[in-house]
C-alpha cells in the first residue's frame, strides 16, 4: 500500500517538475515497478531484461533495486554482479530499503537492507548476511537509527574493501550525499 502511494506521489511530482537540480530531483520509478513489495526474483533472465531497458543518466540518480544487483546467485559462485550494477560504478544511484540495526546511537555509516532486519548484523556471531544488503557511507552527515524505510542517494563504488574501523569486508558501497526518510 505504501509503495503504491509513493508511486502516485512521485508520478505527480514528476509531472510538476521542470528541470530540477540533479540531487534533489526524484527520479520517477519505471512504470513496470510492481505495487507490492518485490519478491526476490533470482531468475537471471528477468534481471537482465530489466537492466538492458534502463538507460543510465550521468546527472540524475539512477534507481537501483536490490533485486537488480546480482544476476545470479549460487552456492559455488556466490553472487554474480549484474551488468546494470557494474555499469553504475562511479555513477549517481538511488536505493530504498531499511537500516539494519546499528551499533551506535548516531551513525556515519550503516547497512541498507531490502527487508527490515531485526537483528544487528555486526552483533550476531552465527547469523548469515542476507544477499540483499549494501554498505552506505554518509559523507559528512550523521543519521539516527530508524525502523522506517529510507532512501539514499549517492555515488556507487564497486571494489574490494576492508573498512579500517570495523573490519567489514564489502564489494559494493554507496557514498550517500543525501538520505530521505520515507
Amino acid at each position: 500500500m505504501r509503495r503504491f502511494t509513493l508511486l502516485l506521489v512521485l508520478m505527480l511530482l514528476s509531472a510538476c517538475s521542470t528541470t530540477a537540480s540533479p540531487i534533489s530531483a526524484v527520479t520517477p520509478l519505471p512504470a513496470s515497478t510492481p505495487t507490492v513489495a518485490p519478491t526476490l526474483d533470482t531468475s537471471a533472465s528477468a534481471v537482465t531484461a530489466a537492466s538492458t531497458s534502463i538507460k543510465l543518466s550521468e546527472t540524475l540518480p539512477n534507481f537501483l533495486k536490490f533485486s537488480e544487483m546480482y544476476s545470479a546467485r549460487s552456492v559455488r559462485y556466490g553472487l554474480t554482479m549484474s551488468d546494470y550494477l557494474k555499469a553504475l560504478d562511479g555513477k549517481l544511484v538511488q536505493m530504498e530499503g531499511y537500516m539494519a540495526p546499528p551499533l551506535r546511537a548516531s551513525l556515519t555509516f550503516f547497512v541498507l537492507t531490502e527487508y527490515p532486519m531485526s537483528l544487528c548484523p555486526f552483533c550476531a556471531s552465527t547469523a548469515d548476511w542476507p544477499d540483499s544488503i549494501i554498505l552506505v557511507y554518509l559523507e559528512g552527515m550523521e543519521v539516527q537509527p530508524t525502523v522506517r524505510p529510507i532512501r539514499v542517494t549517492g555515488k556507487l563504488e564497486i571494489g574490494y574493501q576492508v573498512d579500517a574501523e570495523t573490519g567489514f569486508v564489502s564489494m559494493v558501497r554507496l557514498h550517500a550525499q543525501r538520505y530521505d526518510m520515507l
Binding site: R104, S118, T126, D128, V169
Partner: protein, 689 residues
C-alpha cells in the same frame, strides 16, 4: 656466524667469566646475580607431551633474551639434540608484547610486561622412533630447563576403520535431554529405548581442558583428540609459540596425516563450514582457527578424500561478494583439478556414484549449514544460505560408501556441529534436534559396521561441555494466563516499568535502619509460577515421530532448560521460529537482550562479562561411548589426549615403520639404544626428515 654475533658472544663470554669470578669472591650474592641473569626458556612441545613412535613434530626452543646466551645448548637424553635429530636447527628471533597477542598464552596473569625479544631455535619435521622417556634439557644463562616426553610403542592393529563421532558441546545434560525428547518415558518411568550412542558398550569420561586455561574451545579440544597433544585456545595441530605469525608454530602430526601415511582414506561430514575448528583439527596445523582460507588449502595438499559440509565463502575468490578469502584463488576449481568431484546441492550429492568416485567435495551453503529444525520445519530460514542442503545422514552415508572402498581402511569424522552452536545461541530445541540427527547416524554406522566385517571402531564423544540441563517443564497455558493478568494490570510493554515501580515501592516500604540501607532486588516475574519442578514437572508430552524426532515440538508442557552461564536475555519458553542470538552487544557497549527475540518474555539478567552475546563453554567432563575393536580403551576416566591413543592404537598406527627417505637416516649407537629401553621391535634408525 656473523661478526655481530661473534662480538656479542665474546661479550657474553666475558660477562660469564666476570660473573664466575664474582661468584667466587662474593658467595650468596653471586648466586642471586646468576639466577637473575638466566633468561626464561620455553620448550615446545611442552612437558609431559606423549607421542606415538615416529609421530612427526617440530621442536622449538624459545630463549627470552636479547641474545642467545653463550652457554646455550640443547640435549636429548644427554646427547646433543642436533645429533639426535640429525639436522641443524633454524635460528630466528622476534619480539613480542608480553601483555597482548599470541604471547598471552604464556604471560597471562604472570605480571610480565613490556616488549620481550625471543631467540628461537627450531627443528622441523623430526620424530623419535624408539619408545621410552626422553628428557630434553636446555642450558641457557647458567640455568637448565627441562621437559620430558614419553614416546609410546605402536600397537598391532585391531580395527580396520574408525568412525569418530564428535557431538560438539555435547556432555551428559545434552545426551539426557535428547534421549527424553526423542525416545520418551514409558509408564514404568523407563526410556522407551536408549539413544544409539547409549548402546555402544564401552563407557568413559574425558576431561577437556587445554594447558593455557581450564576452559577450552573446539580447536584445542579437538586437536587433543586428533594429535594426542594439549594446546591453547584457538590453536590446532601446533604448540603455540610467542611469535606473531600464526603459521610458524611447531607442528605435531595429525590423525588424518597418520591415516594417510597408513594408506587409509579419510573424510569429514559436518553441518558447519568444513573449515570450522572441529573438522579442521583432523588435518590442519594453525595457531589461529579463523585462518580458514589457509585451512582448506591444507586439506587440498593432504588430499583429504571426502569433505562434506558448508562454507563456500572460503573457496571463492575474494572478488566474489561475500567471499572470505584474501586471494583470487578458486578452491573449487583447484579441487576439481586435483580429481575431486565437486557438488553444491543435495540432489547432486545423491546422484554421486560412490562406486566410481574416490574423491568428493560437497559444499552446500555459503557459511554454516542450517540446522535440522530449520531445514525440515522452517524452510524460510534456509533459502538465502543454500537452497538445497542435504542432511547429516545423507552426507555421511555417501562418505562411508566412498571411503570404505579403500582396502586399507578409512577414518571418518562425523560432527553434530550445531549442537554447540545452538547451545551458544541458547536455542535448545535446535541443539537437541541436531544431537538426535547425529545419533541417527550413529545407528546407521552400527548397522554398517556389523554388515561390513565388524572391524570398525565407532566412538561418540563431545569436545567440551556447555552448562546445559533440564530443571522442569512449563505449562504454557498457565504461562499465557499469567501473562494476560500482567498485561491487564499494566500497559502493554510496560513489564519493566511495573517491576521498577514494585522495586521503588519496596524501597519506600522497607524500614530504614541507622546503619545500612535495605537490600532491594527486582521482584520475580510472576509468570515463572508456570514452571513445574520436582513432582510438578510431570512428564513432558513430546510424542515420537519419524526418524526418532518428536512428532511436533509445539507441545503443552515443554522442557525448561537451565543455562548455567548466559548473557541478559528474555525467554517466552516457546521455540523460536527464527534462530536469533539471545543478546546483542552494541559497539563499545554492554550486552542487552536481543529486542527481536521473545520481546515479551521473562527477563533474565546476565552472569557473564558485558561483551558476551551468547553462552560459553564449561568445564565438566564429557562422556564417551564406543564399540568395535579397540573400544575397551575408552572405558574409565581419561585425559582428552588419551583419546588420540585409543584410536591410533586401535588402528595400529606405527608411523616409525614408514620407509625412511634415503638421505636422512642415522644409526644410533647400540649403547644409547640400551639406555632408551628399546622396544619389542628393535629400531636402529632415528628417522628424521
Amino acid at each position: 656466524m656473523s661478526v655481530a654475533k661473534r662480538v656479542s658472544r665474546s661479550v657474553m663470554l666475558a660477562c660469564a667469566v666476570l660473573m664466575t669470578l664474582a661468584l667466587v669472591a662474593v658467595p650468596g650474592r653471586g648466586a642471586q646475580a646468576q639466577a637473575a641473569s638466566a633468561p626464561p626458556v620455553l620448550i615446545l612441545p611442552i612437558d609431559q607431551a606423549q607421542f606415538i613412535v615416529g609421530q612427526k613434530m617440530d621442536v622449538r626452543i624459545e630463549v627470552w633474551a636479547d641474545a642467545i646466551p653463550a652457554d646455550f645448548a640443547v640435549k636429548v637424553n644427554g646427547q646433543d639434540a642436533a645429533t639426535v635429530f640429525n639436522s641443524k636447527p633454524v635460528s630466528e628471533s622476534w619480539k613480542f608484547d608480553a601483555t597482548k597477542g599470541n604471547a598471552l598464552s604464556y604471560t597471562y596473569r604472570s605480571g610480565l610486561t613490556g616488549t620481550i625479544t625471543a631467540q628461537g631455535t627450531t627443528w622441523r619435521n623430526v620424530s623419535i622412533n624408539t619408545p621410552g622417556d626422553f628428557k630434553v634439557e636446555v642450558m641457557a644463562g647458567g640455568k637448565t630447563t627441562s621437559v620430558t616426553y614419553t614416546v609410546r610403542a605402536a600397537q598391532s592393529a585391531k580395527a580396520k576403520n574408525a568412525i569418530f563421532f564428535l557431538g560438539d558441546g555435547m556432555a551428559t545434560g545434552m545426551r539426557t535431554a535428547a534421549r527424553l525428547v526423542s525416545r520418551g518415558l514409558n509408564k514404568g518411568g523407563k526410556y522407551n529405548s536408549p539413544l544409539f550412542m547409549d548402546t555402544l558398550g564401552a563407557f568413559g569420561e574425558v576431561s577437556t581442558n587445554g594447558y593455557d586455561s581450564i576452559m577450552t574451545d573446539s580447536a584445542n579440544s579437538m586437536s587433543a583428540y586428533m594429535t594426542g597433544q594439549k594446546g591453547v585456545v584457538n590453536s590446532m595441530g601446533v604448540y603455540a609459540d610467542t611469535s606473531d605469525s600464526n603459521d610458524d608454530d611447531p607442528k605435531v602430526q595429525t590423525m588424518f596425516e597418520l591415516a594417510k601415511a597408513q594408506g587409509k582414506s579419510v573424510g569429514v561430514c559436518v553441518t558447519s563450514r568444513v573449515t570450522d575448528a572441529t573438522p579442521a583439527a583432523t588435518w590442519a596445523h594453525t595457531r589461529r582457527r579463523a585462518d580458514e582460507d589457509k585451512i582448506i588449502d591444507q586439506a587440498l595438499k593432504l588430499g583429504v578424500d571426502v569433505i562434506l559440509g558448508g562454507g563456500s565463502i572460503f573457496f571463492q575468490p575474494k572478488s566474489v561478494p561475500g567471499s572470505d578469502r584474501k586471494d583470487e584463488r578458486d578452491l573449487f576449481k583447484e579441487f576439481e583439478a586435483a580429481g575431486y568431484t565437486v557438488v553444491n546441492a543435495g540432489k547432486d550429492l545423491a546422484a554421486v556414484d560412490a562406486s566410481k568416485t574416490n574423491k568428493l567435495l560437497g559444499i552446500f551453503s555459503a557459511s554454516h549449514m542450517n540446522v535440522w529444525i530449520d531445514r525440515n520445519l522452517f524452510p524460510e530460514n534456509v533459502k538465502s544460505n543454500g537452497p538445497d542442503q542435504p542432511g547429516l545422514m545423507e552426507m555421511c552415508q555417501k562418505a562411508i560408501d566412498i571411503l570404505s572402498k579403500n582396502s586399507n581402511g578409512f577414518v571418518l569424522m562425523v560432527e553434530g556441529s550445531d549442537i554447540d552452536k545452538q547451545e551458544h545461541s541458547m536455542s535448545w530445541e535446535r541443539a537437541v534436534a541436531d544431537a538426535i540427527e547425529m545419533d541417527n547416524v550413529v545407528g546407521y554406522a552400527k548397522e554398517w559396521a556389523a554388515k561390513n566385517g565388524n572391524n570398525t571402531l565407532i566412538s561418540v564423544i563431545g569436545d567440551h561441555a556447555h552448562a546445559f540441563d533440564v530443571y522442569g517443564t512449563i505449562d504454557l497455558a498457565q504461562f499465557d494466563a499469567l501473562a494476560a493478568k500482567m498485561n491487564a494490570a499494566a500497559t502493554p510493554g510496560a513489564t519493566r516499568a511495573a517491576t521498577t515501580a514494585a522495586t521503588t515501592a519496596a524501597t519506600a516500604a522497607a524500614p530504614a535502619t541507622a546503619t545500612t540501607a535495605p537490600r532491594v532486588f527486582p521482584t520475580l516475574d510472576p509468570r515463572l509460577a508456570a514452571i513445574g519442578t520436582y513432582q510438578n514437572a510431570g512428564i513432558p508430552d513430546y510424542k515420537p515421530g519419524k526418524n526418532n524426532f518428536p512428532e511436533t515440538w509445539d507441545v503443552k508442557y515443554p522442557l525448561v532448560i537451565s543455562w548455567g552461564d548466559h548473557p541478559p536475555y528474555t525467554d517466552d519458553f516457546r521455540m523460536d521460529r527464527k534462530p536469533l542470538d539471545p543478546a546483542v552487544v552494541p559497539s563499545g557497549g554492554i550486552a542487552q537482550p536481543n529486542p527481536a527475540r521473545d520481546p515479551n518474555g521473562v527477563f533474565f539478567t546476565g552472569n557473564l562479562p558485558g561483551d558476551n552475546n551468547n553462552a560459553v563453554h564449561t568445564l565438566q567432563d564429557v562422556p564417551v561411548t564406543a564399540m568395535g575393536p579397540g573400544s575397551e580403551c575408552f572405558n574409565g576416566w581419561k585425559d582428552n589426549t588419551e583419546v588420540f591413543f585409543c584410536v591410533a592404537n586401535a588402528l595400529g598406527m606405527n608411523p616409525a615403520s614408514a620407509p625412511a627417505t634415503p638421505a636422512a637416516s642415522v644409526v644410533l649407537p647400540l649403547v644409547l639404544l640400551g639406555a632408551l629401553g628399546g622396544s619389542t621391535v628393535l629400531r636402529r634408525k632415528l628417522i628424521v626428515r
